[in-house]
Symmetry: C2
Amino acid sequence: MSSQIVFKALSDPTRREILRLLRKRPMPAGEVAEAFVMTKGSLSHHFNILKQAGLVRCERRGQFQVYSLNTSVFEQTMATLMELFGPDRRKRS
Amino acid sequence: MSSQIVFKALSDPTRREILRLLRKRPMPAGEVAEAFVMTKGSLSHHFNILKQAGLVRCERRGQFQVYSLNTSVFEQTMATLMELFGPDRRKRS
DNA sequence: TCGATAGTTTGATATTCTTCAAATTATCGA
DNA sequence: TCGATAATTTGAAGAATATCAAACTATCGA
């Protein structure tokens, strides 16, 4: 997962709030949407970006699309951030 | 420092590369600029965003503006990121 | 099979972002 | 004081982003 895409995904406050909600538990898109004053279409757009970044996963459950966090990509991102600021050990992001 | 501003600052690849350079040592703007195929004006714009986010500091040294990392904001940002993904403990970013 | 519910996709619009070239400010050295 | 060097600021242009409304797709329940 390119860290560019992950950082872009994290740069939007709505998307960070989505992640915060999903931290509690996996949730269908509609339940996430209740927390926002935004159309479902807009939320769907944000879900796509989070999915592309690998930050969330999505599984259909009957009528529902259930979203959940993917913590492994998060861990890689933390590592990348550490490299940006930690002592110089000649690495790339 | 609002985490919104910090995340936005980190979302651009040029700015992350600037941080990576400054990790080695404090550097005048011109020396940073040598690493890019971009005008100094554009770089100056990125420096401003990094300064606003508190990720770098800047000190005039004669003709030179010497930029350096500010690691304390980075540490706060890591903490915020941890909150996004770590177990739910009822916090905000 | 049909209507209702859940969610996505599309097309348009307004805003924000990145970049450049040119003008401007600040400091140094002679 | 003047010219050169270092960097910032300004104004403009093009690309990317967020959002909405409306159309569309998929599944459920009766």
